[in-house]
């Protein structure tokens, strides 16, 4: 989970970086466009201004020409006619200039109109001049010619005003457009900048936050690894202590074994030997009641003997120094069957066994396991029915019990030992494997309550397990799982 977070954080940072780059490029482009349009509009202003000035100049030249002409007419001095003569050429030049600057059809039309009017004005001035040069001067002709000239001049003035108005209107148009753009663009840029700023601030926050988290987690990790190291050390200490304890316990167990095998058995054996002496020699002297008591003593002592033997066997199965060997389980079963052949005959019992595998086992323990299970079936058989023990073996398969500490990847042989005995209630299926746990009284069925505990121990010693299924009045089945 944490790894994924870190990964997405780095991915997230990349996205932020890309977005920032994009925003920067966009802002740059917009700014460039904005600057360009500003320059453009300045150009337009300049253009409009220039055109107006040139047109005004044109007009003023025309006026100069008119003034010169008038001066000539009044004084008849040709010097005064000079501006007039110059004006003609200057006006043509100015027109050529202006024509270059015209951009729209309307502007061009206006200019051509002006040109026409100015030409007309010059033509009229020529007419006036020629009238003025005529001798004798005809006042009426001069007057009418000059009036006509004034009329043309008025039209020119109107035309110039029109052109100025057009330029102004263009300028205003463009100004409006520019202003719109100029007002929109900064706003947009500002918004974009603000957005970018937000992104940056958020990224900064996010990065610093991630960094903090990382630091914190790092610290935690260091602390944890420290505490793990500590815990490990403590565990190791505890383990050593445990080991020591275990060794101690093993020693105690060994001395218990000795006590059980020797010190407990010795007085019992002596009691039993005395009993055998009494049975042989003194029993005839006893009363009937005495004989009964004596038989009971004998039974109790025998039971005690069985208990001690079984207990000894149990503690011997606890020993860890038993040697594993490759052994044929069929042979071990045969040995067990042979050991119990006498009892089996008594019960008219028979065993039908399937082929068993050859496994790496502690042979005497597996034989003990078979002996105990068959002995158990004999002990709890139905008196009126011949005992039948079936032994089956299933192919190795993984253990399918939940909550077991057994290797689920490993395959186990499942050996089933079932009988047609008295069975038991399924609710006791676990209890029967507990040391000294019995389901019957001594008077009904003799037993030590150790045999099946030994079976369990043996199965566990082999890395396997044993379970039981019982049906009262029908029989019991024991399942032994041994690693293949």
């Amino acid at each position: 989970m944490k790894h994924q977070n870190l990964f997405s954080a780095s991915f997230y940072l990349k996205v932020i970086f890309a977005a920032s780059l994009l925003i920067l490029v966009t802002i740059s482009a917009i700014t460039y466009r904005h600057t360009q349009s500003l320059t453009e509009s300045i150009g337009w202003v300049m253009h409009a201004y220039k055109t107006n000035v040139q047109v005004e100049q044109l007009f003023s030249m025309l006026k100069d020409a008119e003034t010169g002409q008038r001066g000539f007419i009044i004084t008849n001095d040709t010097v005064l006619l000079e501006p007039y003569n110059n004006a003609r050429q200057q006006v043509e030049n100015a027109f050529i200039q202006l024509e270059k600057q015209m951009e729209t059809k309307q502007q061009d039309d206006h200019l051509q109109n002006l040109h026409r009017l100015i030409n007309a004005r010059f033509a009229q001035m020529e007419v006036t001049l020629s009238v003025a040069r005529d001798q004798p001067l005809r006042d009426d002709l001069l007057k009418s010619s000059m009036v006509a000239g004034k009329a043309i001049m008025d039209s020119i003035h109107l035309q110039v005003s029109k052109m100025a108005a057009l330029e102004t209107s263009y300028l205003q148009d463009r100004q409006a457009k520019y202003e719109y753009k100029a007002s929109i663009t900064p706003l947009f840029s500002l918004l974009l900048l603000l957005f970018a700023l937000n992104v940056f601030i958020f990224s900064y926050w996010k990065i610093s936050h991630d960094l903090n988290t990382l630091k914190h987690k790092n610290q935690l990790l260091i602390l944890q690894s420290d505490s793990i190291a500590h815990a490990e050390e403590r565990n190791n200490m505890a383990l050593r202590e445990r080991n020591h304890e275990l060794e101690q316990k093993n020693k105690e167990l060994a001395s218990f074994n000795h006590v059980a095998s020797h010190d407990l058995q010795e007085p019992l054996r002596i009691v039993q030997t005395y009993i055998s002496r009494l049975t042989e020699k003194e029993i005839g002297l006893m009363s009937a009641k005495g004989k009964d008591y004596f038989v009971r003593i004998k039974l109790a002592v025998t039971r005690m003997r069985n208990l001690i033997d079984a207990l000894l066997l149990f503690s011997r199965t606890n020993r860890t120094d038993s040697i594993f060997e490759i052994a044929d389980l069929n042979l071990l079963l045969d040995n067990a069957r042979h050991d119990l052949s006498h009892l089996l005959e008594q019960k008219k019992g028979s065993i039908i066994a399937a082929q068993l595998p050859t496994l790496n086992v502690i042979p005497f323990q597996i034989q003990q396991l078979f002996t105990n299970l068959i002995g158990n079936s004999i002990k709890y058989s139905k008196p009126e029915v011949p005992l039948l023990i079936l032994i089956n073996c299933e192919k190795p398969a993984p253990i399918d019990f939940p909550n077991t500490r057994y290797d689920h990847a490993r395959n186990y042989y499942k050996i089933a030992v079932s009988d047609n005995g008295i069975g038991f209630e399924q609710m006791y299926a676990e209890n029967i494997f507990t040391l000294f746990q019995r389901l019957h009284h001594d008077e009904e069925y003799e037993g030590t309550g150790i045999g099946l505990s030994i079976c369990k121990k043996i199965a566990e010693n082999h890395g396997g397990l044993i379970t039981a299924e019982g049906k009262p009045g029908i029989g019991a089945t024991f399942f032994i799982y041994l690693p293949a």
Binding site: H262, Q265, R269, E280
Partner: protein, 148 residues
């Protein structure tokens, strides 16, 4: 012709066991001379008497106070004087270690004390009926532990 009696010696700390032992030999139809001592120290003293008739068979209990049977076994087997004396270990326990140990240290047979008097008689008869001199199979560990 009168048969030479078989000389039998028992070292055992338990007086009941000593009593069963002597009683058993009384009931056995073989002529025996049975002597008993009650621990290892007494055994050593008994065997150190120069004019001693060396027993044919020594029955040796392992668990005795003061001086145990194992110690006595080692001492006796180091003494050339008793090289012809058979030693039968006579013990309550029949642990693998004890059997192995006594076999290695030179005992001839291992008897687990029975809990029935008749069985005891049978076992003892079996032991003293053996021809110790020519019984080479004692060196076979498989039959070292004597069963009926």
């Amino acid at each position: 012709m009168e048969l030479e009696p078989i000389y039998v010696l028992l070292a055992d700390d338990d007086d009941s066991d000593r009593m069963f032992f002597t009683d058993a030999f009384e009931e056995i139809k073989i002529k025996t001379v049975v002597q008993t001592v009650k621990d290892g120290v007494e055994l050593t003293n008994y065997l150190s008497v120069p004019e001693l008739i060396i027993p044919h068979v020594l029955f040796l209990d392992l668990n005795m106070p003061l001086k145990g049977g194992m110690e006595c076994l080692v001492e006796i087997r180091q003494n050339n004087r008793f090289k012809d004396m058979a030693i039968a270990i006579y013990s309550t326990s029949a642990s693998e270690e004890d059997i192995e140990d006594t076999f290695v240290k030179g005992a001839n047979v291992y008897i687990k004390k029975p809990s029935d008097f008749n069985q005891l008689k049978k076992l003892l008869t079996k032991v003293i009926s053996m021809n110790w001199q020519y019984h080479t199979s004692w060196l076979n560990k498989e039959i070292f532990l004597l069963n009926l």
